[in-house]
Symmetry: C2
Subunit: 268 residues, 2 copies
């Protein structure tokens, strides 16, 4: 998907909501287990109930991979029913030496036809570059994550800057860095201001709203730019709002709450 198209979709829907498909067989409503493919059925009903509210969908690859072949089948079927107007993100956090990253890029951009994939920065430019080569495909680099362990290394200071700032500053110098987006954990919303000074134009994928804490209003206030420039992700708070037969309806209600919180930022 082009950047232009993504922005247009956001403008039309008045939403920067990304729904994370962290579909866990242990957590989905029990009545779905009667279906041939419970994971796909769950995803299908979630997508049908929320597709007009979200602009992006983010399957968490670990949840499919851990089911073996059947999980990859569920993922593949899910990708086929996501409307064209929705930006698709493989939350895979891959990254390896160049020839290997090229294989991961092929997997997610060609075989599963995702618009974007999340990538870990630790191994540096040649581990990211194979992803960046794809036109109109997006590489979402981990910068500041929302988990407790983010404090272990991402804030290490080197020459007056935290590691995550080095990751941002260095990566925007890479070839095709226009194809980069960044993961910025919402639990540190006040830092978005500083991050916007370094990357005013890039899109940020913000996890950590909902189950992990962080508010939509704060993220929008500090993170939005003239092209919106944000995708706010919520996973568990939407997916598992109910464990009953009303799960899709309740998921919609949760998604709607978040979209309502975004609305003030779409006034022109």
């Amino acid at each position: 998907m082009t950047r232009h198209r993504l922005i247009e979709n956001i403008r039309n829907k008045k939403s920067i909501l990304c729904i994370g498909l962290d579909t866990d067989v242990q957590k989905i409503p029990k009545h779905l287990l009667d279906y041939d493919d419970p994971v796909f059925e769950f995803n299908k009903q979630i997508i049908e109930a929320t597709h007009d509210l979200c602009v992006a969908v983010k399957p968490n690859i670990a949840f499919y991979e851990c089911l073996g072949i059947s999980g990859w089948n569920s993922l593949s079927k899910t990708m086929k029913i996501i409307p064209d107007t929705i930006f698709t993100i493989a939350d895979a956090k891959r990254g390896d030496i160049g020839n290997t990253s090229a294989m991961y890029a092929k997997t997610f951009f060609e075989i599963y036809d995702f618009d974007a994939v999340t990538v870990a920065p630790y191994m540096g430019f040649d581990s990211v570059e194979p992803f960046l080569r794809y036109e109109n495909k997006w590489t979402i680099l981990l910068a500041l994550t929302s988990n407790p362990g983010s404090a272990d290394f991402q804030f290490l200071d080197s020459a007056g800057q935290s590691l995550f700032e080095h990751v941002i500053r260095k990566s925007i110098e890479w070839k095709s860095s226009g194809n980069l987006m960044y993961v910025i954990g919402a639990t540190k919303a006040s830092m978005l201001n500083d991050i916007r000074k370094i990357i005013p134009d890039h899109f940020l994928l913000v996890p950590g709203v909902g189950a992990q804490g962080g508010t939509v209003a704060e993220v929008c206030r500090y993170g939005m730019n003239k092209d919106f420039g944000l995708l706010i992700n919520a996973s568990r708070s939407i997916l598992y709002a109910s464990s009953g037969k009303d799960f899709a309806l309740r998921a919609r209600e949760e998604a709607l709450k978040l979209v309502e919180e975004m609305k003030p930022f779409f006034q022109t």
Copy 2:
């Protein structure tokens, strides 16, 4: 596999060789394409030709993942024919927030029954801890990698130490850190000496011997400890020694050369 067993296997075979199964359909001998599952057939012949020379085998997961379902099938079949005495490493470079890393750990330790998996450290302790929880399973944390991009972040200095040193020092404080091994790129063999001062006992997985440069003798000289403590990986130099029907034989010859270079370090 227990540490004791791994050490015993090394002692018996007088080898610390790990063979990386970076099996690329584009690179394997053309006559194998007539088989139902060329990737599996290639792996099978490589393993049959080298199993007495290596103590570990390391499928590079990207190469299987990029083939979709058929790749995962080839991987699964490959795992079933690797002898019990060989330590198996999923070179997957995974790592995500806790509940997601738990899924990745399940995938590689339970579904595919690997002895070890490579993990990226960027997201900190809760992204690694789910892997460490498995008894007699091993988490091989990226510290210093052998690719050009390793210079981008791994050498950033913070309080007098490089990032990769912080990764090592911090991670050995984590619960169950006895289940850790570390990736240390062989192109920096002289640094092994310094690294051994921080982690005298842990096993190191050393890539970058062979196609990526670095010598076995240097790695052994600086990296070996009383329990050997090293696994030296070679992938392309062994797998693709020949593109003809003699590929397995030639692979054996390449493996044998490396084992010969290791021999002097097994004198008692």
